[in-house]
Symmetry: C2
Subunit: 142 residues, 2 copies
Amino acid sequence: MEFVKIKEKLDNYIEQEGMRHSSQREEVLRTLWQSEKHLSAEELYNEVKENIGIATVYRSLNLFTECGLCNEIYFNNETTRYEISYGKKHHDHLICKKCGKYIEVRNDKIEKIQKQVARNNNFLLKSHKMDLYGVCEECQKE
Amino acid sequence: MEFVKIKEKLDNYIEQEGMRHSSQREEVLRTLWQSEKHLSAEELYNEVKENIGIATVYRSLNLFTECGLCNEIYFNNETTRYEISYGKKHHDHLICKKCGKYIEVRNDKIEKIQKQVARNNNFLLKSHKMDLYGVCEECQKE
DNA sequence: GTCTGTGCAAATTGTTTGCAACTTA
DNA sequence: TAAGTTGCAAACAATTTGCACAGAC
């Protein structure tokens, strides 16, 4: 998704909440958007630290999460990572234990069964998270 | 599983590694075993703090995890919790967002599809983790 | 000019570690 | 008696917060 759309969503939220615009927030958002990877707060901070303090990075990321722009990702007990989720469908992850790479996957069958499982337990399903851990193609060759 | 079996597994590991037995480790293990819930280190410590320090609780839990006796569980970014996994089949969790209760579930269909997904991506699957978040039967009534 | 956002440093939380005293084998 | 284990307090890492100052509207 283009950055303008993302920015617009943030701006709407900011106005709706009576908050103010700031260049720092925009820079954090753009940096996250530009990155192909899921960044941690620390990593993101390293990209912007000439202009922005770490506390602001955290505050921005929390704000983005709050307004539905981004997702917090937790793999095991590793540091929280962030991804822009706005406009993206839910996906699961294949995570390589050797190189740390992750692959996004979608599978409708699994989602169907998940709904079934929830129904069988009289559970009202809201969301889910599935991670598959293993060794990726490249790392298997080594 | 009876405690003796669990204890035996620990003792074997301890001997194999040239470590020594200790009453503290046994008490931590028994406390975890007795509990129906997945305890955090802090909660476990509260049950044994008359005899045992928090550092020993952490050291014990790490040891148990290392030797395959227990599992670390991470829900979102909450504190790590522990469950005895020895002798138990892998299971997934339904987690109630309201009361925090979790239900263990097993579903072979999902495991099959997970293997398929991994194969499609030339991924060598080692383990997985699936959490379903929602509202449990009781909490829906409120 | 008022009120929000930022940066810094200090506080907090969960967990690990160094070290002297204690236990086990 | 030699080596591993414990408890305490200090160290750590990730994140949040208090406060004075800067910036938005």
